[in-house]
């Protein structure tokens, strides 16, 4: 594996790229203006094609203190459904939580008409939009970006958004960070953090005292608004030292826990650009970000950790001018391996000398980050190869379907598989089903972990293959579910048994590019039933039919009638449009048996639905 990872350390190169663009310096310029001229608000500006919105760093966080005691589940506080994509949950995952005060800050801003109007104006004029903010303004910017991304997703807008924050506190928990990765939004957040700034690290210490924070914020706000005023609210040295110690101590615990247990309530989101007097590096792996925050703070002091929060202007200017110079090396000995010299350059950019105590752990940290970023493209290519290897399993299932659909018992492959004996054929197919499921689950896992190219789920090859797999194999999954009686244990398949992969494939299929003129009428039955959940619906309808015989409560009976009626209409439409495969219509298929039973039932209206004649004849008899 080692040879397949890149043999270069690129965190510094990426920051060089960022710094050579106007994005960082323009963002900071506007943040700075917003700090002085629009406290508690924001401003917008259009530069070339790019629209900017900058939130002031001076914000009041409700009545509550900005400590982490008040994290709230995003889903419950999101009354206006602004963040729908973040509500989706994986099995066993903690819900997405965000800082209550910071969320409130954004929500109240969002509800103002001036914000709405200016956002609309910006979206009309600009192709891409940069959302930025210093300090607390940065977290507002992050929420604003999450909202815009959610909105753009819902209306399929091609607009691009980039969030650039400067020295902002953490916003939410690990689930939030994961959800962002899952939506492929990880690349839309760039958090600039200076070497010693305590603000972005603050929320890692749960018990930082309210008074300390209050004074700190006051000092920063006054300094941002007008540097001279800052002096009025200087903090006591002891307080600074206490705060520094506290944050460092907590960070250390979290950094050492590493990946195994996320002990922190808060978790980094997106990429982090760490900057020093000497340059900058850019890291996106969350665990490495926390480690880096810890290691860099170790080189700071109670004084610098407070002052660094106000120095982003200097840092940005320095990195923006770096491109002109060759840059000389402080240390004489440059390692001969290209990877090690890349690491040496990164360390130099962080202003860390190789003799320093933190040098070694910083190097290790960069190494981990690199390993985590295994080349997604390579993975995709490898997946294509393994897909080719498992394709024969799918072909065997196709073969199985064809032979069942043609066999003399006229049952079709769904019922054959459901009622199979211990024949070799059936268990072979079952084995193949498992192998395919393992393959596709692995694809989903890799995607969740950001190990595949960001446009993977838009590539026609994968969208089509996954759809075909779903249509062919999901019926077998349903058959197995009902065969083993899982529906009695967990509930019906549709609600309780459907694997996440199928829902994801549904989404890929829905979101694919479709040309307008795609409404050909079918001339023959489809080769695979176009609704892969068809059989699950049949199973539920069968249950309703059973229940209707024993049910006496008229209200419940009415409900069952309604359900059955709806299913019948749905199924008939599929059949009429020839969107079902031939197995559905075979003589002994579950569906056909159901239809027969249902019409028998309907022909005895007196017995079963004396109260509801309207459902029988389609007309109301008084």
């Amino acid at each position: 594996m080692e040879t397949e990872t890149s043999s270069f350390e690129t965190s510094e190169m990426l920051s060089t790229f960022l710094a050579s663009t106007p994005l960082l310096s323009e963002s900071w310029r506007l943040c700075n203006i917003s700090n002085t001229s629009t406290p508690r608000g924001f401003l917008t500006e259009q530069i070339g094609d790019v629209g900017y919105i900058a939130f002031s760093g001076i914000q009041t966080v409700g009545n509550s203190e900005p400590s982490c005691r008040n994290l709230v589940p995003l889903m419950e506080s999101d009354g206006n459904a602004l963040f729908i994509p973040l509500h989706r949950l994986n099995e066993g995952e903690e819900p997405v939580m965000v800082h209550a005060g910071l969320l409130q800050l954004f929500l109240s801003m969002h509800s103002s008409t001036s914000f709405q109007n200016q956002m609309l104006a910006l979206m009309e004029k600009s192709k891409p939009i940069v959302i930025t903010g210093h300090s607390l303004g940065g977290t507002v910017a992050t929420l604003c970006t999450l909202w815009l991304l959610s909105y753009f997703q819902s209306v399929s807008s091609p607009l691009q958004v980039l969030c650039i924050t400067f020295g902002s506190p953490m916003l939410g928990n690990e689930s939030l960070s994961k959800a962002v990765l899952r939506e492929r939004w990880g690349g839309n957040f760039c958090n600039v953090v200076s070497k010693h700034d305590i603000m972005p690290r603050m929320l890692f210490a749960p018990e930082a005292s309210f008074t300390q924070l209050h004074f700190l914020l006051q000092y920063w706000h006054l300094s941002m608004n007008c540097p001279r005023f800052g002096m009025l609210a200087q903090l006591h040295d002891e307080d600074k030292a206490e705060l520094f110690r506290l944050v460092l101590c907590h960070l250390e615990v979290i950094a050492q826990a590493g990946e195994e247990v996320a002990k922190s309530l808060f978790w980094p989101l997106g990429s982090y650009l760490f900057c020093s007097e000497e340059g900058a590096i850019c890291v996106d792996n969350a665990v490495s970000v926390i480690k880096m925050m810890h290691l860099l703070l170790m080189t700071g002091s109670p004084y610098s950790c407070v002052e660094d929060h106000l120095k982003y202007g200097d840092y940005v200017e320095k990195v923006s001018l770096q491109y002109l110079n060759q840059g000389s090396f402080m240390q004489a000995d440059i390692p001969e391996s290209s990877y090690e010299s890349g690491v040496a350059i990164s360390l130099q950019s962080l202003g860390i000398y190789s003799q320093e105590k933190v040098a070694k752990p910083v190097k290790d940290c960069l190494k981990t980050a690199r390993r985590m970023g295994l080349r997604p493209n390579l993975n995709a290519a490898k997946l294509a190869v393994s897909l080719a290897k498992i394709n024969p399993y799918r072909a065997q299932i196709e073969w199985y379907k064809a032979s069942c659909d043609e066999s003399d018992d006229h049952m079709g492959y769904y019922d054959c598989f459901k009622l199979r004996d211990n024949s070799k054929k059936g268990s072979k197919v079952n084995l193949n089903r498992h192998k395919l499921a393992a393959f596709w689950n692995n694809v989903i896992k890799m995607l969740d972990n950001n190990e595949l190219p960001y446009d993977f789920n838009r590539r026609a090859k994968w969208v089509n293959t996954s759809q075909f797999y779903k249509l062919l194999v999901e019926p077998l999954d349903i058959a197995e579910y009902y065969r083993t009686g899982m529906h009695r244990v967990k509930g019906h398949y549709l609600k309780h048994g459907r694997e996440r992969r199928y829902e994801i494939f549904d989404r890929w299929w829905r979101e694919r590019k479709v040309s307008v003129d795609e409404n050909n009428k079918r001339s023959k039955l489809a080769s695979l039933t176009q609704d892969s959940c068809f059989w699950a619906r049949v199973e539920e309808a069968r249950e309703w039919l059973d229940n209707i015989r024993s049910e006496r409560d008229p209200r419940k009976l009415a409900f069952l009638w309604e359900n059955i009626d709806a299913f019948e209409k749905y199924a008939r439409k599929l059949v009429d449009n020839m969107e079902v495969s031939r197995d559905v219509l075979l003589k002994n298929s579950s569906y056909n048996l159901w239809v027969e039973e249902w019409s028998k039932l309907k022909s005895q209206p007196k017995k079963f639905s004396p109260q509801f004649p309207d459902y029988v004849n389609g007309e109301v008899i008084p």
Binding site: F8, T10, D284, Q326, E336, A380, K389, N450
Partner: protein
């Protein structure tokens, strides 16, 4: 007689280069009068030199669009300037292309003079200074397209030194596909670009016009004045510095973005940010000779490495140098004569390639790399810059590695194809069926086995296609005759099975006709390979014989819904093609078997049509034979 050795068997007489330079400068200084000049003597051993002038105006460089590029869509003039499989045309500077088409090709004398030189089999040299160099590039490509065709009547005898294109301080001309194409056709070696360490002109197009608009006019006025009269021109230091800094800043974005990709950075931010800022699409090609300023010549060809070098060699040592270097970046554009004079006296050339031994530290002293190290120092390359060169090298190596691993799969491909060609075909014959119909019926275990082989092959070919789409195979790959042939065989053999599968599963009703929505890229790519390889013999899009069955199926569907008359034209066309394909063995005769879908479909056509059909004999003869 001294000569400059460029390796790869290319040697050029230094006197010739000097002469080319003086002619190029002369052409450029009189650009208002003539777009090109020819110089040559009666002696047949003497070369003939075409020198081209450029121009100094904003819309002579940036014609619309931030970087002034346009898609080359001139299949007659430049049929090769595209990525074959991906089917994407190269981008080229629009103004330069326009100038070449209007002023050079539009002048009938030019064509005549070139033809004359070709007839006399003279060594032909195209040259240009500044944007004249870009015109020379295009002229050379035009020449190669025209005279290297095997069917060209005067079949020019090429040699490693003819034709040649020599440019001085030439701006970038085309994008990555442009560069890829020239390497694929093995034409890159005809181009030699001299670039002074600080000369800004070869770097200008790395910046979008919007970023340098303020200074552009003044700088170009200065450069223009200077090209007319060397002595009498000056420019404000402030403007010069701003211009230099802005070009460098944009160049920095381009090369650091490229380096991130070369080095395999996986951060999604890279992608997002590149959507926010316009990045120059230009990419170098050919052999670059960097003049260090102290008599050394640093030579390299790797386009990724050259791009990096264009930026890093112009960086400052210290900030204080800025004003001075900015002035020099403009002055050096006219400094080639002296520099070449010095360099050719010493002939102190350093080859950076194969880029295997790039010392990362500027004070590496080990003797075997001392020469390279001192050359890199002379270009002011920092460790960062050297790492970028290494990254370019790694990419090249990776591409070669990919090619090797694909070559190793050839036996697998052959084996699977052999099964289909022999076992499967034979099995079908026993049942009186061709492969297509046997596979479509899918009745026996052999059909299942064939399907597995089809999927195996698809896996291998899809992997190749994926690599090509990402340009992760050597540039030459799509021109390699063994792969073109294998691809063609594969396509003719297996595509019918894919079509059978498609129509067996009625995928045409889920999506659309095979040809519109269903045809896999592995067949589209391989078809284009062949059409490009034989571009002189067959017209484009003409070798779709492997899609024969898809056409039959679609015609069948159309006739059953619309009747014969409206479709008649298409039927006639297909019949013509079938006749041709059968006669040329591109289509197997099993399509004519009694039970074949095609045969059955044809038999159902109206009688009066069949009587006059061009394939009626074919149908009858085979039909009667046992």
């Amino acid at each position: 007689m001294a000569s400059l050795n460029l390796e790869e068997n290319i040697e050029i007489d230094t006197e010739l280069i000097k002469k080319a330079y003086s002619l190029a400068v002369k052409a450029h200084s009189k650009s208002s009068e003539k777009a090109y000049n020819v110089e040559g003597s009666r002696r047949s051993s003497d070369p003939i030199i075409f020198s081209f002038s450029g121009c100094w105006s904003e819309n002579g460089w940036y014609d619309g669009e931030p970087f002034g590029v346009t898609e080359i869509n001139l299949p007659l003039l430049f049929p090769s300037l595209r990525s074959i499989g991906v089917n994407e045309n190269a981008l080229v500077n629009k103004a330069f292309l326009q100038r070449f088409v209007d002023k050079i090709l539009g002048n009938s004398n030019f064509d005549r003079e070139v033809q004359k030189a070709v007839k006399e089999n003279k060594q032909i040299l195209f040259t240009g200074h500044s944007s004249g160099g870009s015109i020379a590039n295009l002229a050379t490509i035009w020449f190669l397209e025209k005279y290297l065709r095997s069917d060209s009547p005067d079949n020019y005898k090429i040699s490693p030194s003819s034709p040649l294109c020599v440019t001085f301080g030439c701006p970038l001309t085309g994008n990555h596909i442009f560069s890829h194409t020239l390497r694929r056709e093995n034409w890159a070696r005809y181009f030699i670009h001299f670039v002074m360490r600080y000369d800004i002109v070869p770097r200008i197009l790395l910046a979008p016009i919007s970023s340098i608009k303020l200074e552009f006019q003044k700088v170009f006025e200065f450069l223009n004045a200077k090209s007319v009269n060397l002595a009498h021109a000056s420019i404000d230091t402030f403007d010069a510095s701003n211009f230099y800094m802005k070009v460098m800043k944009n160049a920095s974005s381009v090369v650091s973005h490229a380096a991130c990709n070369l080095m395999g950075n996986t951060n999604l931010l890279l992608e997002t940010v590149s959507n926010f800022i316009p990045l120059s699409p230009y990419k170098p090609f050919g052999t670059y000779v960097f003049c260090t300023g102290n008599g050394k010549l640093v030579i390299l060809r790797n386009p990724d490495a050259v791009l990096q070098l264009l930026f890093y060699s112009s960086q400052l040592c210290t900030e204080e140098e800025c004003a001075d270097i900015a002035q020099r970046s403009l002055q050096q554009h006219f400094g080639y004569e002296n520099e070449l004079q010095d360099s050719f006296q010493m002939l102190n050339e350093v080859y950076l390639e194969p880029l295997e031994q790039i010392p990362l530290s500027s004070d590496s002293t080990s003797s075997d790399i001392a020469t390279i190290n001192s050359a890199l120092n002379d270009l002011g390359l920092s460790t960062r810059a050297r790492l970028c060169l290494c990254a370019a090298r790694e990419l090249e190596k990776r591409k070669i590695g990919n090619k090797e691993s694909i070559d190793l799969k050839k036996p697998d491909i052959e084996r699977a194809m052999k099964f289909l060609e022999e076992d499967y075909q034979l099995n079908g014959r026993h049942r009186g069926l061709g492969c297509y119909d046997a596979f479509k019926l899918h009745e026996t275990p052999k059909d299942f086995e064939a399907n597995v082989k089809r999927l195996e092959l698809a896996g291998i070919w899809d992997e190749i296609i994926e690599m090509l789409k990402r340009y992760e195979l050597p540039d030459t790959f799509e021109g390699l005759i063994d792969w073109v042939l294998l691809g063609t065989r594969y396509r003719r053999l297996v595509e019918p099975l894919d079509i059978a599968n498609y129509y067996r599963h009625l995928k045409n009703e889920d999506t659309k006709a095979y040809m519109i929505r269903g045809r896999p890229k592995r067949y589209r790519f391989t078809q284009r390979w062949r059409e490009h390889a034989d571009r002189n013999k067959i017209p484009a899009e003409s070798s779709g014989e492997s899609c024969f069955w898809a056409e039959v199926e679609e015609l069948r569907i159309k006739i059953s819904s619309q009747g014969f008359e409206p479709i008649k034209k298409e039927v006639l066309q297909l019949e013509d093609q079938v006749l041709d394909w059968i006669n040329n063995n591109k289509l197997d005769r099993d399509v004519l078997l009694e039970k074949s879908t095609f045969k059955k479909w044809w038999e159902d056509l109206p009688r009066e049509h069949k009587l006059t059909s061009c394939i009626k004999d074919l149908m009858v003869v085979v039909g009667r034979s046992p």
